[in-house]
């Protein structure tokens, strides 16, 4: 119990952060027109690709002779990058098609 409280205390800043980010996410997304659900989902998908930063940190921590870690880390970097790059490119392609609309109306 002691340790649990300590852990929470040590990470208070992050916990604040977490709660505010949750509220922010809810706030940002409400009142979205249905037509944008797909691009929005896709864009959000790309944003959580930020996990690749964690994969890079793992790789930086790993000792150069720990091949198991390096291989798994390498896979993580590839997959994370796929998520980021693929996600943003797909979203851009979807939105490219929306672009002309406001001009015509």
């Amino acid at each position: 119990m002691e340790q649990l409280l300590n852990y929470i205390g040590e990470n208070m800043e992050m916990i604040y952060f977490l709660i505010l980010a949750i509220l922010l996410g809810v706030e940002v997304i409400s009142n979205v027109p249905a037509i944008l659900h797909t691009p929005l989902m896709s864009g959000a998908n790309a944003i959580h690709g930020v996990v690749v930063v964690g994969a890079i940190i793992v790789m930086l921590h790993a000792s150069p002779d720990n091949y198991a870690s390096l291989i798994v880390g390498f896979l993580a970097v590839v997959m994370g990058t796929l998520n980021v790059v693929g996600g943003f490119v797909v979203t851009d392609r979807m939105l490219e098609m929306f672009k002309k609309k406001p001009k015509k109306s």
Binding site: L36, N45, H48, V53, F88
Partner: protein
């Protein structure tokens, strides 16, 4: 000094995520928003590589592998994203989402090996964060892959006997093992056991959910991956990961609920209802012996040309046939003849909300022609002809009339209110939800069988000659 710079770049990245997401929710600014978030991501990645720790020449292998990984991921990701057809967009999103989930799970695996499990008793916060990242990341990965396979048509809907019970049981085991591990018992086997069970749970979780509900599942798994990424951020005290992950986690959850609302169903209903697996749909038998009436291309052309108001209802069939351009062609021809043409967009037409808007926008259909369900339904009784192109469930009157139907309660486009209904369809197969559509047997309904693109092409030629 340099570490402060790193923190500042993470702050900038977090800001771009928030601003990007906000801009993504407005049609005019959406594309710019996407690019802003992408730029922020690039800043965060570059800063992490260069500033996170001073360059250490003994780790040149690590740097080489990071660079190689980034290059491989970028090349493959760009190629996949560029080549995918607009119709396959939903499964592409699901695939990329799975990659993110796998990345989060793998991070947890490596960090666990480095983790010092000295404290036999007491609370180990880092371990908890790792376990949660591992479990949620794995579920998201295997679930997304199944969703991808299902939408690609590679995996069929399959329901295990007592699937829900097994799922509940597995969830209980996952929770139990997590608690067991947190109390300081068990060795690495428990950790890897959790990995395996979480992967299996992801598969069983998505397996029984029907194709029509897949967008909701993808959206939900999307928010899962966000949460998994956020746990990674918690582990490293990395604020860019934390904001990005949590933002997507909460925004994704809201988006999932919005999608459920659009179908007038609750999330629990979607997840536990096993929609597509419900093969014993009520309306199936009674329609069996009724006959449908066909209509010829030339009759359709005449009917359309002399109408006042025409409404086109696009569905997944239009997307599959890639018929959006020829559809726009027909619409323009009719407009020239003084016919008022509009498109009725059901919120869940296609495989994803907004799928039809994307497709028709690709074909340059003017924005104001696309009318949402609430807008167009009151105008249906004033409509001479409704042309349904490859849509089925979203116009099925059973949703209004038949309480035993699995889609009962879903709001539909009330095309049965119009004077004539023409349905372009390949054959008499049921819609994606696997249920019969009594609309096809209504006296005012005519069927025009054939590939949507092909039929529309012939129709355009005919209309020109009328």
């Amino acid at each position: 000094m340099s570490l402060n710079i790193l923190e500042i770049t993470y702050l900038i990245a977090s800001l771009t995520f928030v601003i990007g997401l906000k801009m993504l929710s407005h049609p005019e600014s959406a594309r710019k928003g996407n690019l802003i978030a992408a730029a922020g991501m690039l800043i965060a990645v570059v800063a992490t590589i260069t500033i996170y720790q001073p360059f250490d020449s003994s780790k040149s292998l690590n740097y080489g592998l990071i660079a190689l990984g980034l290059i491989v991921g970028t090349v493959i990701g760009t190629m996949m994203a560029k080549q995918v057809k607009m119709t396959a967009m939903p499964q592409m999103v699901s695939f990329f989402n799975g990659m993110g989930g796998a990345c989060a799970a793998l991070i947890a695996v490596i960090e666990y090996q480095n983790h010092n499990i000295g404290l036999a008793s007491g609370f180990d916060g880092e371990l908890l964060v790792m376990l949660l990242g591992l479990i949620i990341g794995s579920v998201s990965f295997s679930g997304s892959m199944i969703a991808y396979g299902k939408l690609e048509g590679k995996i069929k809907d399959r329901v295990l006997p007592m699937n829900q019970l097994i799922n509940m049981l597995m969830l209980a085991i996952i929770l139990g093992l997590t608690v067991y591990k947190m109390l300081g018992y068990g060795d690495s086997m428990v950790f890897y056991g959790l990995l395996v069970i979480a992967l299996i749970y992801g598969i069983l979780f998505v397996m029984p959910i029907g194709g029509a509900d897949m967008p909701v599942v993808i959206s939900l798994l999307n928010s899962f991956t966000g949460v998994a990424a956020a746990f990674g951020g918690f582990l490293y005290g990395n604020k860019a990961m934390l904001t990005g992950g949590i933002l997507v986690g909460s925004a994704g959850t809201i988006l999932t609920i919005l999608m459920c609302n659009a179908m007038n169903r609750s999330l629990t209903n979607v997840l536990l209802g096993a929609f597509g697996g419900n093969k014993a749909g009520g309306a199936k038998g009674e329609a069996g012996d009724q006959t449908v009436r066909e209509i010829s291309i030339s009759d359709t052309a005449v009917l359309l040309s002399y109408s006042q108001n025409v409404v086109i209802v696009p569905g997944y069939g239009l997307a599959v046939a890639q018929a959006q351009h020829i559809c726009h062609e027909l619409e323009k021809l009719l407009e020239e003849k003084g016919v008022n043409v509009n498109y009725a967009i059901h919120p869940v037409a296609g495989r994803m909300p907004g799928h039809m808007n994307v497709l028709l926008a690709e074909a340059d259909v003017p924005y104001e022609r696309l009318q949402e369900m609430e807008e167009i339904n009151p105008k249906m009784s004033n409509t001479d002809v409704v042309v349904v192109i490859g849509a089925n469930d979203v116009v099925n009157p059973a949703a209004k009339n038949d309480p035993t139907s699995p889609i009962y309660g879903m709001p539909i486009l009330e095309v049965d209110q119009a004077k004539n209904v023409i349905i372009l369809k390949r054959g008499m197969s049921a819609g994606y939800a696997g249920i019969e559509n009594e609309l096809f047997f209504y006296p005012k309904t005519r069927m025009l069988f054939g590939d949507a693109k092909d039929s529309l092409q012939k129709l355009t030629t005919e209309v020109k000659e009328v």
